[in-house]
Symmetry: C2
Subunit: 332 residues, 2 copies
Amino acid sequence: MIQTIVLKNRPKGKPSVSDFEFVNETAEMTLKDQDLLLEPLYVSVDPYLRGRMSDSKSYIPPFELNKPISSGVIAKVIASKNANFQEGDVVSGLLDWKTKQISNGDGLIKVDPDKAPLSAYLGLLGMTGLTAYLGLTEIGKPKAGETLVVSGAAGAVGSVVGQIGKLLGLRVIGLAGTDEKIDMLISKFGFDAGINYKTSSDIQADIAKAAPKGVDIYFDNVGGPISDAVLFNINTFARMVICGAISVYNATEVPKGVSVQPFLVKNSALMQGFIVSNYAQKFPEAMQTLAMWLSEGKLTYTETVVNGFENIPRAFIDLFDGKNKGKMIVKL
Amino acid sequence: MIQTIVLKNRPKGKPSVSDFEFVNETAEMTLKDQDLLLEPLYVSVDPYLRGRMSDSKSYIPPFELNKPISSGVIAKVIASKNANFQEGDVVSGLLDWKTKQISNGDGLIKVDPDKAPLSAYLGLLGMTGLTAYLGLTEIGKPKAGETLVVSGAAGAVGSVVGQIGKLLGLRVIGLAGTDEKIDMLISKFGFDAGINYKTSSDIQADIAKAAPKGVDIYFDNVGGPISDAVLFNINTFARMVICGAISVYNATEVPKGVSVQPFLVKNSALMQGFIVSNYAQKFPEAMQTLAMWLSEGKLTYTETVVNGFENIPRAFIDLFDGKNKGKMIVKL
């Protein structure tokens, strides 16, 4: 019997477990020529999936109701009629939330279990690492000595952005929502400073204090009032990488905030939305750099691993309460 | 006797005539070596000057209290001890609001009264034209067939942006605040469509109707709710040139609006503040193109000319009520 997680309702506001449904399939799985049979080992849950659960125009089409949800998955090949893949291979790709599935191999990449732990291919050596590296370098255009602020800094992308910032010679300040996360930013990831936005009485002033030379680059994962506070501290020619806006993904009305335009004019500053898939031609180079840094011990990562297929929806929902440190992964 | 207009108070909200003071000077003006004596012929009043009247960090330092205000001025050389300028020459430069003044010639450009009307050197062939051309080309990066929306479209910069947009093969939609201005956009400047934002019952829907293929480039002179309405209509990879925010220059509290970040992420879109002086190395090439188009009759312009030195403050204030069509100029 095969289990599938489908989207039952389009969430209103924050998703709840009742928006998902577990469906049992009993149909025989028959491989055609070129097909692989896959069994997932690790499933990635990511904030951006929330966007695909709404029925609105975006950079990727919305999930269909009563159809399986898909995300980044590491899977084992358990049968193959495809010459490029053998039984026992481990692959990474965009796959369904399903206990077994057939693929024709398109878009799958073989990963090497000896080079890095398998889950790293969903994180540092996957979309997470690529997002951090390419967002920071392609839009942030960092120059040694500059100051970088990262929001959602203890999250999967944010913690890598900060480390890469340090490797590139930046002063790095992270924003996160618990003191434990702030400690981790500094002690584990080497950030220069951290601000707990939940306990800060004046985020704008705390950023000013942590960034005495002003903010040159802002890597934004959250949007909302935190990002407004950063605006008041930007330097001339500041670059703001808008990678995510988790603070408003669940908003049921159009979110409001400080008007950014006057800040952009005053500072000749740039704000640009970043979607990693637009930079696919840079993936090989970026992967090489990330793998090198990882093997040299210059990059580290944190995962929050949840066990069991049945807990995928819960793990996804917990992202919006900041329950993860680093990459949130479900192990099957 | 020489008259000077000084900044008496930093305006709170919209400037009023009482924020300015006319001061008489009786001191003798003595030319040192390299000096010129200048008499202004035309004075430019521009929205950006409002920013310099506040005591806040910006791309140019604020005006000092009780010191002369300065802006773009066309002046006649009435005496010269500088080998580069002769009596009778006409020059353009950033000069004080003063009926006579001494300059050492730094930053002054000689202009040719035979090539274009003198006031054009404050407009189409001055900062206005350069702002329109370089903002649109350097940040907007137009491609023929795309759709351009211009706010403040009947203003000095906006009316030139729209015309250049047409010359570059774009569909051009202008936003302005009177039906008369909308008529002018279409009949005089060749815009494809215009929207009166004051009488529109749904700006967002009207933009959607005028831009059936969505908005690729937004040239923003105004900020505020008009710009929010544009956001809902942008295409993937849209570029938003933030050139001004006249709608909020007089705001006494930090202006709020729709959070732009989710729109930027969804559409991989860019917003960038544009200050023409950052592109000084491109001025000669841009000037050449603008002068060519003007001489070929491909560009036209509108001026609102106010007479008399004593009316400079009033003309400046009238900008914020949209009383100008095209470039606002004071003739002395």
